[in-house]
Symmetry: C2
Subunit: 248 residues, 2 copies
């Protein structure tokens, strides 16, 4: 897929923010002021939820600027069926089924979780890999690559499938299909896993089981109080230190 | 109880290490080179297991030097019935019962855990408080106080009872009597809790339940791989940052 930069701005801390399209997929690349052909920097892929890139922009840009301050480039792309990308009937149906189950106070069935997540993973993972194919040849990007946040099943599949990704910071805050536990068992790269202990929309026991399942010898779980969006600043700092240990 | 300094040495990083006795209790105080009457430093109490001060010296000194590098004094005292202090028949009996249960592959009963931990907490907590009474008047020590590591039930009782302690780093790696869960619910100070996920001598589910029980609004759980003594360097760094946030 062809990479086209569509806009470019220099942020006040010197970070270069470039919007791009990769085929039909919108994305953003942030590089620290120091990044150059003679001093290429590692890359962190910033995962995001299905809320859409524009809605998440402020939080993504803050994470990217934190990464840039640590000497890393950061990049994100719009998920399939989200934001400005064409709606997909199957996703919309799964989201409607999820909302209906939650509003009715019913448990969210494995069928709903599978329909919501598995096709998303199947479509998104090759797109993130295509993003690496397109960005890693840039002279100011040197690798290795980390993956951080977003839909955890996408992170699991990427960590398992793409050897360019050497460390992942995963947020155990979304539904996980049972089939992903089998993939989690095969993951071996270092993992830093965040869990919001009282996340209203998350199954804590499933998150603990998933952490236990990961095959990585080096993995750590960091649970904090507060709801889904209440991850404290100190948790972000610790995740940043994790990448500094593994990407530099 | 009277405080007597019995020896004093300056370590290679400038840290002043002073051994003391408090009544009959041996202890060690470490202060950073910078600590003075005009620049008093906060204090971290370094908890330890019942293995004894001399056996734990190297690890305690390493933790103290890390604390000193962050601008904190650190102090520890021998637990009752441990190290050079007089053996206590009831503790020895409880330890023998514990060893026998483990060797026989039996579950460790609530009775054994209570006999092992509750009298230790009852005796140790007033001794740690007496240590604060003795050390806080020193001109180079300014407070506030943090508690770190060791037997977690002692940390829970201290966090609950002594308002001079404003933050605690607890290691969920020892048996916890059911009665301590009720005290844990009443703790309100910020907590940083470490758990070794595959700690061979620890009950993981009990540790997760204990973390859930703590009443503190600000609490976080950090689980790492490796056995009881395998806490990684990065976990020590994160605990140090926790104290920097709460004691300065």
């Amino acid at each position: 897929m062809a990479l086209h930069f569509t806009s470019e701005q220099r942020l006040d801390d010197g970070v270069l923010e470039r919007r791009f399209t990769l085929g039909e997929i919108p994305g953003i690349l942030w590089t620290p002021a120091s990044a150059s052909e003679s001093a290429p920097v590692p890359l962190i892929l910033l995962g995001l939820p299905t809320l859409g890139l524009q809605k998440m922009y402020a939080r993504l840009a803050a994470r990217a600027r934190h990464a840039a301050a640590d000497g890393f480039a950061a990049a994100t792309i719009e998920l399939p069926g989200s934001g400005e990308r064409p709606r997909q009937a199957a996703f919309e149906q799964a989201r409607a089924d999820l909302r209906r189950a939650i509003q009715a106070g019913e448990p969210v069935s494995d069928e709903i979780i599978d329909a919501l997540i598995l096709p998303l993973v199947d479509q998104a993972v090759p797109e993130w890999q295509a993003t690496l194919d397109a960005l890693l040849p840039l002279p100011e990007i040197g690798g290795p690559v980390g993956y951080s946040g977003g839909v955890i099943s996408i992170g699991i599949r990427l960590a398992l499938r793409d050897p360019r990704i050497v460390a992942a910071n995963l947020f155990a805050g979304s539904f996980v299909p049972r089939a992903m536990f089998e993939e989690a068992r095969q993951v071996t790269i270092p993992l830093h896993v965040l869990l919001q202990w009282d996340d209203e929309g998350n199954d804590r026991q499933a998150a603990l089981d998933l952490f236990d399942a990961f095959g990585s010898k080096e993995k750590s779980l960091h649970a904090h109080m507060g709801g889904h969006t209440g991850v404290p600043q100190s948790a972000g700092d610790a995740a940043a230190q994790f990448f500094t240990r593994h990407l530099t």
